[in-house]
């Protein structure tokens, strides 16, 4: 470990937060937290005026602090923010390869693995910051707007678990990015892969329902399914998915390091 590792991470954090993808992710994270509060408030007001088969819709909708936090967690992890995190990841490797700014740090006395480490660490800080902003907005907004009836521990664990999911996404993004100089190409490739992964997961789930024993096991270990490990925290811990996520994170991190270690930098 280089003695100046912390300085390298700080420099990478400055770069990650300086790019529009990093700043945009923070703005979107705040908007998501506030929208969860506003959306739940609007939904509860609308429910007061709606009857479903004689039952007031309001009685079917739980409107409290914990629900608000749960909504914000779901919204935070739905598509846009993971996309921005992936974009930030692609910019930090593909973008720097394309712009030749990576070359400028690789001629410095640092092993390449430590450069990858610094980038992963900085992107993790971005992930934590976005999760923190969303959580804070929904916690504060929810506490002001709604009754604090149910415990939110499970949802907060969901936020914490989302960081591990983001870490997996970051290392997958960096692995793809180490093969391309196109930031857009990396994000599109990753999105296409995750769509294919989702379709395969659906197929395996269907096979499982038909009685194929191995299909659900394989499905849980697909990278795309593993990235959804955060979803399980409000219904209970699922070690298989978390284990798969940890495995995929380590594998993609190691592969990225090997790739960056060996690649020729123009």
């Amino acid at each position: 470990m280089p003695p100046h590792m912390l300085a390298m991470i700080r420099a990478e954090i400055v770069a990650v937060f300086g790019r529009w993808s990093g700043r945009g992710a923070l703005v979107v994270a705040l908007a998501v937290g506030l929208l969860a509060v506003g959306g739940l408030e609007m939904a509860s007001r609308a429910a007061d005026n709606i009857n479903a088969n004689g039952t007031p819709a309001a009685s079917m909708l739980t409107v409290d602090w914990a629900t608000c936090v749960a909504w914000s967690l779901q919204a935070r992890n739905f598509f846009v923010l993971p996309l921005l995190i992936a974009l930030a990841g692609a910019s930090t490797l593909s973008g720097e390869l394309k712009e030749n700014t990576l070359r400028e740090i690789l001629v410095r006395p640092v092993p390449r693995w430590s450069v990858v480490f610094a980038k992963v660490a900085a992107l993790s800080v971005l992930s934590i910051a976005t999760l923190g902003v969303t959580a804070a907005a929904s916690l504060v907004g929810g506490a002001i707007m709604f009754p604090m009836e149910e415990a939110i521990t499970g949802h907060l664990m969901g936020f914490a678990m989302s960081w591990l999911s983001d870490l997996g996404l970051i290392t997958m993004t960096l692995l793809v990015a180490s093969f391309s100089r196109s930031v857009g190409g990396v994000v599109v490739s990753l999105a296409l892969y995750l769509m294919a992964d989702f379709l395969l997961g659906t197929l395996l789930g269907f096979l499982g329902q038909l009685g194929t024993d191995w299909a659900p096991i394989v499905r849980d270990f697909l990278p795309g399914t593993a990235l959804q490990a955060w979803k399980d925290w409000d219904v209970g811990f699922e070690p298989k998915r978390v284990g798969a996520l940890v495995v995929w994170t380590i594998v993609t991190w190691v592969l990225t390091t090997i790739r960056v270690q060996r690649m020729d930098v123009p």
């Binding site: 690789l106 001629v107 006395p109 640092v110 123009p266």
Partner: protein, 307 residues
């Protein structure tokens, strides 16, 4: 007497791209304090060699030692480098970019960055975003970045690339000043032979990835087998051109003064050229020998037409 550890040694450095050998058993030795010019025509392998030396690309064979170090990471602790056109985070200030470099270099505090900015004449502009900088300013900032951490060896690949004559002079003056005011060893590749001749004490010339000449500039220029340049005038300019073009061992090198033609001679005495021209029916009105310089040497070594 104990000899100083060489600043840079490459021994049989080789890099292939498929079947093409870009750098072919290249051996260089640069002594501490030298200003070493690394010359070669386009595609000769200069940039590839520099990238191998800096560890940016893998080498297929050979060794690189920098101040005796063989470990690439330890080697780079002694080196400041600028490879081709320097690139920056454009949205970041000049100082911000240098701070980033200092963070990865593991050395270089605020005073070090201030010194680098002062040396390249960007003091007072350090808070501006790099996007506002001209090409010349970026080039100077690139040199400042290479100086962060006070390296002992400065490796510069085409530092005047893309600059206008004023920018070229600025960079040349800067390097001249650096070479004289510091104990830096400078390894510089350039196409600008005139600049190299003024700056460097020693040069190496490569072609097709191979070292074809190396030594002190004065010794090489004064050495045997070089090229003599003359300016030739004749009443019948077209006839003169035709006669010169028919000769294998001379090369037209553009216009000289007063309507004369500049001609490079490989192993041909000016008097012999005059005799040939007269026998070819050309009425020579002037034949003015030119002083030999690095450019003529370079052309004689790398020009297929006259070697």
């Amino acid at each position: 007497m104990e000899t100083a550890t060489p600043a840079l040694v490459t021994d049989g450095l080789t890099r292939r791209f498929g079947d093409r050998i870009a750098v072919d058993k290249l051996s260089i030795q640069v002594q501490p304090g030298d200003v070493y010019g690394f010359l070669g025509p386009n595609g000769a392998g200069k940039t590839t060699a520099i990238r191998c030396i800096l560890g940016l690309i893998r080498k297929d064979a050979g060794n690189v030692r920098i101040f005796g170090e063989t470990d690439p990471v330890r080697q780079r602790a002694h080196v400041g480098a600028m490879v081709e056109t320097p690139r920056f985070f454009d949205w970041m200030s000049a100082r911000g970019n240098l701070e980033r470099t200092a963070a990865f270099a593991g050395k270089g505090d605020r005073s070090d960055i201030d010194r680098a900015l002062q040396l390249v004449g960007l003091w007072g502009r350090e808070s501006e975003p790099v996007r506002a900088f001209s090409l010349g300013m970026r080039q100077r900032l690139g040199i400042a970045r290479a100086l962060v951490g006070r390296p002992k060896l400065l490796v510069l690949d085409e530092p005047t690339n893309g600059l206008d004559p004023r920018g070229m002079k600025e960079v040349r003056d800067l390097l001249d000043n650096l070479a004289k005011s510091t104990q830096l060893t400078i390894f510089i590749s350039s196409h600008l032979l005139d600049e190299i001749e003024k700056l460097c004490g020693r040069v190496g010339i490569i072609e097709h990835g191979r070292m074809i000449a190396e030594g002190k500039v004065d010794d090489l220029v004064a050495g045997e087998g070089g090229v003599t340049a003359v300016e030739v005038g004749a009443r019948d300019r077209a006839g003169l051109c035709s006669a010169l073009e028919a000769m294998d061992d001379v090369k037209l090198d553009g216009d000289g003064l007063g309507g004369r033609l500049r001609v490079l001679l490989a192993g041909v005495e000016p008097a012999a050229l005059n005799a040939r021209l007269v026998s070819a029916g050309v009425a020579v009105t002037a034949l003015v020998p030119q002083e030999r310089n690095l450019e003529q040497l370079f052309l004689s070594l790398t020009s297929k037409e006259i070697t």
